[in-house]
Symmetry: C2
Subunit: 317 residues, 2 copies
Amino acid sequence: MKIQDIARLANVSVATVSRVINNNDNVREETKERINRIIKENNYYPNIIARNLSKKENNTIGIIIPDIKNLYFASIMDGIVNEANRRNLNIILGCSNENFELQAKYIELFIEQRVKGVIIAVTQNSYDKIDFFDQTSSKIPLVLIDRKIDKQMPGVFFENFYSVYGVVEKFIKHGKKKIGFLAGPQTISTAKERLDGYKKALKDNGIKYDKKLVLYGDFTLESGYNLGKEILEREIDAIYISNNSMTLGFLKVLKELNINSENIKIATFEDNEIIRFIDEKIVSYNMPFSELAKKSIEILESLLKNDTSNTTVEINL
Amino acid sequence: MKIQDIARLANVSVATVSRVINNNDNVREETKERINRIIKENNYYPNIIARNLSKKENNTIGIIIPDIKNLYFASIMDGIVNEANRRNLNIILGCSNENFELQAKYIELFIEQRVKGVIIAVTQNSYDKIDFFDQTSSKIPLVLIDRKIDKQMPGVFFENFYSVYGVVEKFIKHGKKKIGFLAGPQTISTAKERLDGYKKALKDNGIKYDKKLVLYGDFTLESGYNLGKEILEREIDAIYISNNSMTLGFLKVLKELNINSENIKIATFEDNEIIRFIDEKIVSYNMPFSELAKKSIEILESLLKNDTSNTTVEINL
C-alpha cells in the first residue's frame, strides 16, 4: 500500500493525503476524516523514514553504555530516559558489553538512523582511540559521559580524583595506617583517576605508597571477591574499593570469614540502595545521576546549535 | 556533500561510487581505493537511510522493557543483547518506565525506524489493551516476553503459576501453616499468575485461604519494606514474595527487627546474585534468561518468514 493508493481510494491528490498525514490544517475536515478512515482501514503506515529523510533529522538520541547489568550504568540510563522524556526526546540504547567493536557498530547504526546525537559511556580500551572518536564526532554530535578519552571532548564526568582523595585523607586523619585499594581496569579513565586520588592522598599526608596494598580487578563481583580474600591477609585497617560490584564481592568475603566490618573502614565510589542495605556504615557518595543526565542532554543540544563553549562539565560529588 | 560530488571528484559515475559504498566487487581495485580515499577525505557519510528505504528493512530489532533499574529486566536485556550479537542483529532499546503511553511512543518510533520486529515486556495496564496490540502487530512482527496480555500472541513466558504452586506446596508439606504472600500489581500477568499459584496450592493441600496473609505491593523495594513490616505482625511461619525488589525490602525489615531468617521460610520468584549473597537460604529459581532471549529471537525470525506455528513458548523453571 502506497500513498498513491490511499489518494486513489480517497479520490484526492497525493499532496492532500500527505497534508493529512503531516497534520497540516489546510484540508477540509470532512476530507481529512475520509482519508484517515481509509488509512486506518488499509493499515497504511506512512513511510516516515522518507519523511525523516526529507526533514534530515528526527527527535531521537542514541545512548551507548558498557554494561547494562551494572546498577551504576542502569542508574545513569534511568536518569537519561527520564530527562529525555521531559524534553520529548526519544532514546535508543546500545549495550556495548565493554566491547570496542560492538560500540563502533552501534555508533554506525545510530548514524544510519539519523539520531540527533549520541551520548556515550565508552568501553574500556577506548581511552587512547583518539582517531576513532575524532572521526565519529565529525559525523555526529557526540557527548561523553562518565568515562573520558585521552582528548578534550564534550562530556560530563563525575569528579573521581578528589572524591577518592577526600575519603582517603579522612581515613588517614582518623588514624588509619594500612589502607588497601581495590583498583579497576586502568584502561578506564574513572578507574585510573580513582587510583591517582588514592596515591596523592597518601603522599600529601606522609604515608608511603605500598604497592602490595593495591590490587587490580575488572569491576566485577567475582574480582572483588577474589581480591578481597587476598588483601585481607595483609592486615589492612581500611580499604577503598573502586566500584559497586567489587564492593559486593568484598562484602561477601567479610561475611564468609565472619569479619565484622567495624574493624575495617570501607569506602567505595558510589552509593546505591543495595550496598547501603547490606552495610550502611560503608562510606560512599550519593551520586547525582540526574544532574549528569540533564547536563549531557544540555551539552548535546548546545552542540546541535553549534555552540561549543562550555561543553565539558565535571560534577563535584 | 552528496554522492554526485564524490563521483565528480573521483571522475567516475554515481553508479560506480554506489557500487563501492555497497561493497559490490564489480569495480577495479584502483578505482575503489581512489573513491574510498575521497570519501574519507571529505567525511562523506553515505545516506544509509535512503539505502534502507530502498531495501525496505535493516538488521535491527527493537526491545522495550518496563524498568531498566530492575536486575530482572537488566538480565533479560543482557540475554537478548548477547543472543542478538551472536546472530549479528542490532538491538535498540526503549525503556517504558511502566508507562503505557511511552511504550506506545517507542513502538511507533521503532516502526518508523523500520526495525525487523519488536520484542516487548509490556507495561502494567497493558493486559486488556487488545486493540492496541492487534493494531501494532498488524504493522510489525511483535513478540511478547515475560508478561502476557489477555489474548494469545507470539511470545515467551516463564512458568509462573506452577513455580509458585510447587514452592508453596513444599512449604505446606514441611509443616508450614501460616504462609504469607506479598503480591505484585494485579494488572501484570506474572504477578497475577504467581498469586493464583499460591491460592491453588493452599486449596489443593487443604489450607484455607486467609486474605489477611496476602498484601499487595508495586514490585518496588519500598513496598516490600512497608508490606514486610505489616505482614510480620501476623505471625507467619513462611512467606512467598513475588519479585526481587520486594524481597530486598522484606530482608531489610528482618535486618532492622533483628529477626533471624531461620525462623521464617522465605521464597521468591527469581534468583539473583545479590539476593543469594544476602541470604543463601532463600528459595528461588535460577532463571533461564538466556533461553528466554534465544527463543524470543527465534520466534521473531519465524514471524518474519510468515511461519506462525509454535510461536508461543512457556519456559519451565
